[in-house]
Structure formats: structure tokens, C-alpha cells
Amino acid sequence: MLCYLLSRLISLVLSLAVASLVIFAMLEIIPGDPAAVMLGLNAEPEAVAALRTELGLDLPLAQRYAAWVGGMLQGDFGTSYTYRVPVADLISARLGVSLPLTLYAIFLSTALAIPLGVWAASRHGRPADLAIMGVTQLGIAVPNFWFAMILVLIFAIRLGWFASGGFPGWDAGLFAGLKALTLPALALALLQASILARVMRSSLLETLHRDYIRTARAKGLSRSRAILHHAFRNALIPVMTILGMQVSVLIAGAIVVENVFFLPGLGRLIFQAVTQRDLIVVEAVVMLLVFAVVVVNFLVDLAYAVVDPRLRRRA
């Protein structure tokens, strides 16, 4: 187990190192000088040069890369060119929206998908199963930003139950905050819920054909008890994998949905930063998103090894 953990850890660090190189290199070839952009069209060349020195833009490439990575390891992401505040402060403020949104969406999709999937499997081939399969097939085809617009049209404009966008801040209270995140989280959850419900259903159906379920039924257990106490837990393993894999999709989805609902999260931050050529913010946010995906996949791998001892030896 220790050997497996170590090999996964090395691969994690390597992935992050290569990812940081790629991100740094990509933003290096972006045309346009951030210092010139910040000072506007009529800036004096001397002023631009002075700002370049202040921002450290005139240092050699390798030195700037080392300074960037070294800073991040100590929690220093640099200073935003446009906001003139530490990037770490910007990110932590925006995380206060993005993180609850993502968790809310994961909660909603799991809470919807698992009962639906179990229900569909227990009614295999009957109308309820067919209806759930049909709805989830549709749910996979609906783009999240369009679903978000439809939710706004129905629940904000027509019914007036929710605001059509914006975020009051957590100072306005937990309820107000959660309410503002409800439509965005629903828009984000639809795709995940559809995929998870289908995986839950097929995984449970497969488990129900195993011998130990037949044994349990032969002992006199009712079908629902056999499903809940024996099949369900085993059928959850593939569902967990998919949940882990979906994290990167959810993060990308959050960027889209935050923009539709004008939520001040990381997704809006990265968009604004790209249009304003605030490269240091772009670098930091992209690195953070990649870090999140890589770490979640690492944790999923570990969870797997805990559940399935055969995997530990394969490494």
C-alpha cells in the first residue's frame, strides 16, 4: 500500500510540474505586453519600462518561472495587474462562491441521481424505468448554459421565485446565499445527475444478477431488502468513479454557469482576466483548477485502492 501511495504521489507531483510549465509557456506566447495594456494607449515608454521592472517582466524566463512556482508553494500567487490586490486574496474571495456552488451541484445531482437510478433498476423494463432512461438521455443532451437560461425564464422571469442572477454575498445570510446559488446549481447538476442515474441503474442491474444476491433472495430476503442491504453498496463503486471523473466537467461547467448568472466566482474571474490580459490571474486560476482535478483524481485512485486490494499490486 505504501509503495502504491508513493508511486501515485510521484505521478501527482510530476503532473502538476508539467502542467505548470505548459500554463506558463502558453501565457508567455500571448501577444501584448501586460504593462502596456495596464497603462493604456498613450503611456510614455519610460513609464511602461518602469512598470515592467516593477512587475518583474524584464527578468529572464527561467527566473520568472521559478519565482512563480516558488511563490505559489508559499501561497503567494503574485499581484493582479488590474485589481492591484494579491491574487491569493482575489481567488479566496471568489472560491467563496465557486466552491459552495460546485458542492451544492454535487449534492443535488447525487441526491437526485441515486434514488432515481435505484428506482429505475428495481423497475427494470417497466414504464418508470423507461421514463427515467428517456429523461436522463435528454438531460445529457441539454447544454448547461441553455438549461440555465430556461431556468431563469421560468423561475425568475415568469414565476419570480428567484433572482435572475447575481450573488448577495454570504453576509446576507446563509439562506439568501443558498437561494442565489439554487438555480445555478440546478443548471450544473442536470448533466451530472443524468449520467450518475444511468450509471447507478446499470451498475445495480449488473450486481443484481450476481450469485450472492440469488443466495440472499433464496434465504428469504425480500427483493427490496436484497437491493438495499446487499446490492446497493457494491453497485456504488462505479458511481463513485464517475463522480470523481466528473469533477473536471463540473469545474468547466461552473465557469459557464457563473457567467450566465453573473456570479462573482472563479469562472467570471478567469473570463475578466483573459479579456483584461491580467495574465498572472489567468495563470493562477488555471493552475488552481488543474490542481483541483489532479488532486481529486489522486483521491479517487486512493479510495479505489482501499476498496479493491488488487489495484495496490498493479502499481
Binding site: 505548459v22 437560461m149 483573459v274
Partner: protein, 272 residues
């Protein structure tokens, strides 16, 4: 072999949109480049089958020309994935377990770690937004998908007797991959290509919704949605119609992909 009903529905839907895109090259009900402000935001019916947008352009004509953009971008993106990913996957499988295989697979993992939209934002930021860069961004994400499918399919073939026979006959790894492995993973690749095509349609719509895809005045489904957003209360049809087009196209491709998988891979039939 029984053809699943889902496949037929999916193929019909996909063919409908392909036809719309084709016809738009020679005929559209109205000219999409002409703005007629007096005719703006007309509801469906009334001289315009699907109504008009905020600039008085015919929505049906916009959909037809937009289908061209969507299909073109998704097709090229899937092509990039196939053309780069499959040779990589075949190469990795031929050297399975070696360091080349390891590097290719770790490289794949790395691309997967970048959420696709983030990748597209980066590419658009570096090279500027255009349909071409949307193809590139979606295409790059397709590479590891096809590489994985090709590698997994190829590895299981490499253990089979007919490959052993080819090796005994003196063929090299490259020739075996091209002549024997590749034709035998064709089914897998066709199914995956259908899925990636549908992913491409949604991705293109998302990118052009954000202004990172085809630029005005070229119509695209994503930008039709972006244009409709501020007017959704006044003219809901402007948002509903392009969105439904995306949903039907993607649904069609997904149904077709599922059907193809069931037909081409008998093992999948039981769990489907």
C-alpha cells in the same frame, strides 16, 4: 441483425440537421446578412416559420447556416482527435509497458487534467477567438480520448493468434498496427467518433456563446443563444429555438452512438 429503434431516430435527427446545413449553401428562406429592424422579434408563424431575432433576421435561416458552423467545427475537431490520437494509441499499444507507452499515457492524463473549456479559453486568449481556434481547442481535447480507445482496443488484439502469425511472417510492429490492428478497432473508433462529434457540437455552442467561436456576422447556434439572453423575457422564442436545435442534434448523435455500439459490440447488448 436487429437495428435498434434509438439508432433510427438518432440517424434521422442527425440526417435532418446535416441536410439543413447542406441546403443552406444553395438556399435559405431569407438572407441572414440582411438586417430588417422593422421585422424584429416576430414570433414564429407570420411570414417567418420560426420567427425573427432582435435584428429582424430569420431564425430558421440562421439555424441552417449555424448548423454549418456547428457541424464543421465538430467534424474537424473529431478529425484532429482521430488523426493524432489513433496513431499515438496504436504506437503506445505496440510498445505496451515500455517508457514510450508510459509517456504517451501520462501525457494523456495531463490533457485530461485541463477542463476542456479552460483549454479553449487559453487557446482563444493566445491566438484570438475564431472558429478555427474553437476547432483546435476541442480537437486537442479529443486527442487523448481517441488515444485511450485505440490503445485499449489494440492491446487486447496484440495477444491474439492472428497477430502472432503476422509477426512470425516477419511483419514489423508498424505494419501490423496499420494492416491488422487498425481495421479491427474500426468499430470502436466509429462509436467514439459519434460521441466526440456530439461533444463537439455542445462545446462549439458553449464557445461561441462566450464569443470564443465563430465571429459575427457568421451565424452560430451558441451566439444566437447569447444574443437572446438579455431579451429572454420579451422574445423567449429567440432562446428556445436554437437551444432546442442543439438538444435535438446532440440527442440524435447520442442515440446514434448508443445504437451503433449495441449493433457493433454484442457484449454491450445485455447491459444496455
Amino acid at each position: 441483425m436487429r437495428v435498434p429503434a434509438g439508432f433510427l431516430i438518432g440517424a434521422a435527427l442527425s440526417a435532418l440537421f446535416l441536410l439543413m446545413a447542406m441546403v443552406s449553401f444553395i438556399w435559405t428562406p431569407h438572407d441572414v446578412t440582411v438586417l430588417a429592424v422593422a421585422e424584429r422579434m416576430k414570433v414564429p408563424g407570420d411570414g417567418y416559420l420560426l420567427g425573427t431575432d432582435h435584428l429582424g433576421r430569420d431564425i430558421l435561416s440562421m439555424l441552417m447556416v449555424g448548423a454549418r458552423t456547428s457541424i464543421g467545427v465538430a467534424l474537424v475537431a473529431a478529425g484532429i482527435g482521430l488523426a493524432v490520437g489513433v496513431p499515438l494509441g496504436l504506437f503506445a499499444a505496440a510498445r505496451r509497458g515500455g517508457w514510450v507507452d508510459e509517456i504517451i499515457m501520462r501525457g494523456n492524463d495531463l490533457v485530461f487534467a485541463f477542463p476542456p473549456l479552460v483549454m479553449a479559453i487559453l487557446i482563444a486568449a493566445v491566438f484570438g477567438p475564431s472558429a478555427l481556434n474553437a476547432m483546435l481547442a476541442i480537437g486537442v481535447f479529443n486527442i487523448p480520448v481517441f488515444a485511450r480507445v485505440a490503445r485499449a482496443g489494440a492491446i487486447s488484439l496484440w495477444t491474439l493468434d492472428f497477430i502472432m502469425a503476422a509477426r512470425v511472417a516477419g511483419k514489423g510492429a508498424a505494419r501490423i498496427s496499420a494492416e491488422h490492428i487498425f481495421p479491427n478497432i474500426g468499430n470502436l473508433l466509429i462509436v467514439q467518433a459519434t460521441i466526440q462529434f456530439s461533444v463537439g457540437i455542445v462545446s462549439e455552442a458553449a464557445l461561441s456563446y462566450f464569443g470564443l467561436g465563430a465571429q459575427p456576422p457568421v451565424p452560430s447556434w451558441g451566439r444566437m443563444l447569447a444574443d437572446s439572453q438579455t431579451m429572454i423575457g420579451l422574445a423567449p422564442h429567440m432562446a428556445l429555438i436554437p437551444g432546442l436545435a442543439i438538444v435535438l442534434m446532440v440527442l440524435g448523435l447520442n442515440l446514434m452512438g448508443d445504437g451503433l455500439r449495441d449493433m457493433l459490440d454484442p457484449r454491450m447488448r445485455r447491459t444496455a
